[in-house]
């Protein structure tokens, strides 16, 4: 009986104008991070099925592997660093340039910059002290982030630069996979790191480090992870892509609805198949309850969030462009790209609007404005000028002139 219904739905998928998903079983990649919550909840709590999809969740060991599997088709879509999608689009890094798509924003806020216990003992617990320490002759400080084009590299660089520390010439930076940050801190191989949770909370819990700055203190409600896939996937399976956005939107709304749902979500995340970390490291910061390891505790005004009536999920053009301005600022791009043109191709605004409208979710403007901690305002209006407007930078203009 159900077989008959199955084949009927499959047939419908081929009817012109049908809204039924063309592809019903999806392989979705994620990294072991608490901000993968909405895709994990969508896949396991009946949201995907409601929209005609079955999602196979596949945890990945590295961002590079997640990216390669997106490009090879082994993964259909993934919980992705915003900067990873744009790095591939622009051909920066180990993969060939490929047209990519951001289907929606998955979360805002909730990452942090942490320093080692050794620096704490040496009295380096403020940005001023860190600035002095970074300029001392002798051993250079080493900071870890998670991918050269990733969000954590950009938050780390932005924060260091805002404190007068040049992230490329004043300190060394290395890439370490997020679940290994704590082990590297323990082995004293790094002096600090920027990553997502629960790995920062775990460093604090184990007395191996302290949180110096949250990323929401750099940019309140900053973009972080996106639901990413190749452009080819969206073009081949538009109905599937829309159904996926709807399922993840509903899961996002459910998580953010109240603290009880957030607590249950934190319990789900701690499971072995998902983040595989103690609930005690996941739950407090998931609810916005921070302690920095220096004796300060607070309820954060801009905690990790997944929905906020859709304000989190809109694939804003200005969010996509911001990452390109920072690639430009730090010399990862040797010339100005067509910021707006590329963002319009990558950010799947039409698809998102259709999905949000069908769920009665508010659709904000396609650009947004924010003032970051160095006092600079980003509103997407002049990306090339913005990229050039920083005192500390590594603009690689010689190549551009040579062209």
């Amino acid at each position: 009986m159900s077989e008959q219904q199955n084949s009927r739905i499959d047939t419908q998928a081929w009817v012109a104008g049908s809204e039924a998903p063309e592809k019903r079983v999806l392989n979705l990649g994620f990294m072991a991070l608490t901000d993968a919550a909405s895709v994990i909840v969508a896949a396991t709590q009946g949201f995907a099925e409601k929209h005609g999809l079955t999602i196979n969740l596949l945890r990945q060991a590295s961002w590079a592997s997640l990216r390669d599997k997106l490009l090879s088709g082994e993964l259909d879509a993934a919980h992705s660093l915003y900067g990873l999608i744009y790095g591939v689009q622009l051909g920066i890094g180990g993969a060939p340039a490929t047209d990519m798509a951001v289907l929606m924003g998955l979360n805002q806020n909730g990452q942090s910059i942490n320093l080692s216990h050794a620096l704490q003992l040496a009295g380096v617990t403020t940005s001023d002290a860190l600035n002095l320490r970074a300029r001392q002759k002798g051993a250079r400080l080493t900071f870890a982030q998670t991918l050269p084009t990733g969000t954590h590299a950009m938050w780390l660089y932005y924060w260091l630069a805002s404190q007068g520390i040049h992230p490329i010439t004043d300190v060394d930076s290395v890439v370490v996979p997020p679940p290994q940050m704590v082990a590297h801190l323990k082995a004293r191989r790094i002096d600090g790191f920027c990553a997502g949770e629960p790995w920062c909370a775990q460093a604090v819990d184990e007395d191996l480090g302290f949180t110096l700055a949250t990323t929401q203190s750099i940019w309140p409600d900053h973009p972080e992870k996106a639901l990413g896939c190749t452009r080819a996937f969206v073009e081949h399976y538009p109905n599937t892509a829309r159904a996926l956005v709807m399922a993840v939107l509903e899961a996002s709304r459910f998580i953010d609805e109240n603290d009880e749902n957030k607590r249950s979500t934190a319990q789900l995340l701690s499971g072995r198949e998902y983040v595989d970390a103690p609930l005690s490291a996941i739950q407090p910061r998931f609810l916005g309850q921070y302690q920095d390891g220096l004796g300060h505790a607070w309820l954060d005004a801009q905690p990790l969030r997944f929905h906020a009536d859709g304000a989190v999920n809109m694939p804003y053009l200005s969010d996509g462009m911001w990452f390109m301005t920072q690639f430009r600022r730090w010399g990862l791009l040797r010339g100005d790209p067509d910021y707006l043109g590329i963002a319009r191709q990558v950010q799947q605004l039409d698809l998102y609007r259709q999905a949000a409208k069908a769920l009665n979710i508010r659709i904000p403007a396609e650009q947004r404005s924010a003032t970051l901690l160095d006092g600079k305002t980003w509103d997407g209006s002049d990306p090339a000028g913005y990229a050039r407007g920083f005192t500390l930078h590594a603009l690689a203009d010689s190549d551009a002139v040579a062209l």
Partner: protein, 192 residues
Amino acid sequence: MLRILLINDTPKKVGRLKAALSEAGFEVIDESGLTIDLPARVEAVRPDVILIDTESPSRDVMEQVVLVSRDQPRPIVMFTDEHDPGVMRQAIQSGVSAYIVEGIHAQRLQPILDVAMARFESDQALRAQLQARDAQLAERKRIELAKGLLMKMKNCTEEEAYTLMRRQAMSRQQKLLQVAEQIIAMHDLLGS
């Protein structure tokens, strides 16, 4: 002779791979240390080819090596840059990722990949996960049946029933379907 750096930091048994590559006439340097030293090791060894498990967390560290080396005369690229994308797909599915120094032809890489792919043990558990499941309609029906039973039992709305079921599932690290099956089984047990 091509010099191969073999990064061996996952539980996969690649012990014989080094010997097999050596027998095939390649110079192989085996590396199984902490990943943070990788950029320095690549600089010191200056390999022509780097082989690494696709599932290795050190893949992200290699991304840094790629970016750093793009300004040197011997940039390191993912082997697929200009070659047959089918080769990349096949290698990644077998669990092998390769980085090569630009200028090495695909023909010279192929025998290395052939040996590596034959030696990498593919993870059967992962393959099993990748098997597509197509029981979604049946699942949906079971969930709806359980929801209906719960609405009657608790005298609550549809939304409330879903929320109750989801909270229960998540706090036990289960799927919604599992809780639905438990509700149906309990209902059958108690009779109606």
